[in-house]
Subunit: 165 residues, 2 copies
DNA sequence: GGTTGACCTTCCCATGATGGGAAGGCGCAC
DNA sequence: GTGCGCCTTCCCATCATGGGAAGGTCAACC
C-alpha cells in the first residue's frame, strides 16, 4: 500500500499526458499498468519514474522506437555504456542533419528575401526564385535524388513522338 | 494541340510524384486537370510550371497551406512584393526556430555523451541524465509549459490524504 | 443518502505530407 | 491481339499527439 496514483496524477508527476500514457501502454513501450477493481489504472513511483524517463528522452527528440531500446538498456545491469553512447551519437547525427537541412532552407530563402524590395509593387525575386530557381537542397534523410534540368521544358519519359492523343 | 502529358510525364517534368499531384488536386491546391475520354489526366506546360513551383516551395519547407497562398500571390498581378516577403520572413523564422530547437537537443545530448566513457561497463551519464536530468528545452512551437519539480516525488494534484484505495 | 463535478474508461477521428499496394481499365508497340 | 506499362480510384500506414463522445467511478459536500 505504497503511494498509488491514478493516470491523471501519474501524468502530472511525469509530464506525460494521460492520453500518451495509455498510448505508450498500448504499443508496449511501457508495461501494462495495474488496475483497480473499477478498471482505473494504478501507478506507483517506479512507473512514474519510467514515464519521466520516456518524457525526457522525447524532449531530446528520441523517437519512440529508440526509446524502447533505451528503456531496455536502462533496465539492463549488464549493459555497456558503449551501447548507450552509440545510440546517442547516432541520434545526435540525425538531429544535426535535420537542423542543417532546416537552416539551409532558411538561408536559401533569406537570400531571396534579401533581394526583394518588399514594397507595393508586384515584382518579387522570391516568387521568381520559386518559379525558376533550382533549390539545390542537400539530401538530409529523404530527398528527391532526381536531378532534373530546368523543368517545364523537355519531358523526360515516354514521348518519342509528341502530340499523342 | 500543344504539348500534352499524362500524369507520369508531368510528374517527371515537375519533380512532384504522380501520387502527390493527385493529392494536391484532391485538396484543391492545384486546379483539377483536364481529362481525356479514357479518364486519364492531361497536363500542359502551364500545369507543369505550377507543379514545379509547388515542388520548389516544398523544397524550401513551405507547408501546403502556405503554398496555397503563394500560388495565389503568384497568379495575382496586383500583388505587392511586401506580402510575399512577409510570408517568406515568417517562414524563415519558423525554419530557424525549428533548427535551433533541434540543435539545442543535439547539444544537450552531446554534453551527456561527452561525459560517457563508452566502454564495456554499465555506468552511463547518458542514462543518468535521462533518469534525472531536467532537459530545459526552450519551447519552439509546441512545448510543455508545465514546470514540474523533480518528478517521482510529490504528486501535485488531487491527493490531500495519501493512501487512497 | 443523494447529488455533483472531476475524474476515469474505451473508441474513433484528425493532424501533415508522403508512400505502398490492390483491383481493374487504358494505350500502344510488336 | 497480346502483353506490358501506364492510368484510375480507394484504402491503409507512417509518427506523435490531441480532441471529443459516450458512459462508468470516486470523493466530497449537503
Amino acid at each position: 500500500m505504497g503511494i498509488v496514483m491514478n493516470i491523471g496524477q501519474a501524468a502530472d508527476a511525469s509530464g506525460v499526458s494521460a492520453k500518451m500514457i495509455r498510448h505508450y501502454e498500448s504499443i508496449g513501450l511501457v508495461p501494462q499498468a495495474d488496475r483497480r477493481d473499477s478498471g482505473y489504472r494504478d501507478y506507483d513511483p517506479e512507473d512514474v519514474h519510467r514515464l519521466s524517463f520516456v518524457r525526457r528522452a522525447r524532449d531530446l527528440g528520441f523517437p519512440l522506437e529508440r526509446i524502447r531500446v533505451l528503456l531496455g538498456l536502462w533496465g539492463d545491469p549488464t549493459r555497456s555504456s558503449a551501447e548507450v553512447k552509440a545510440l546517442a551519437l547516432t541520434h545526435i547525427e540525425e538531429l544535426e542533419e535535420k537542423a542543417r537541412h532546416l537552416q539551409e532552407m532558411a538561408d536559401v530563402l533569406r537570400g531571396l528575401a534579401d533581394a526583394c524590395d518588399g514594397d507595393g509593387r508586384p515584382h518579387c525575386p522570391i516568387i521568381e526564385g520559386l518559379e525558376a530557381g533550382s533549390v539545390p537542397a542537400s539530401s538530409p534523410s529523404g530527398e528527391r535524388p532526381i536531378s532534373r534540368s530546368s523543368s517545364t521544358s523537355l519531358p523526360s519519359r515516354r514521348s518519342p513522338s509528341p502530340g499523342r492523343r
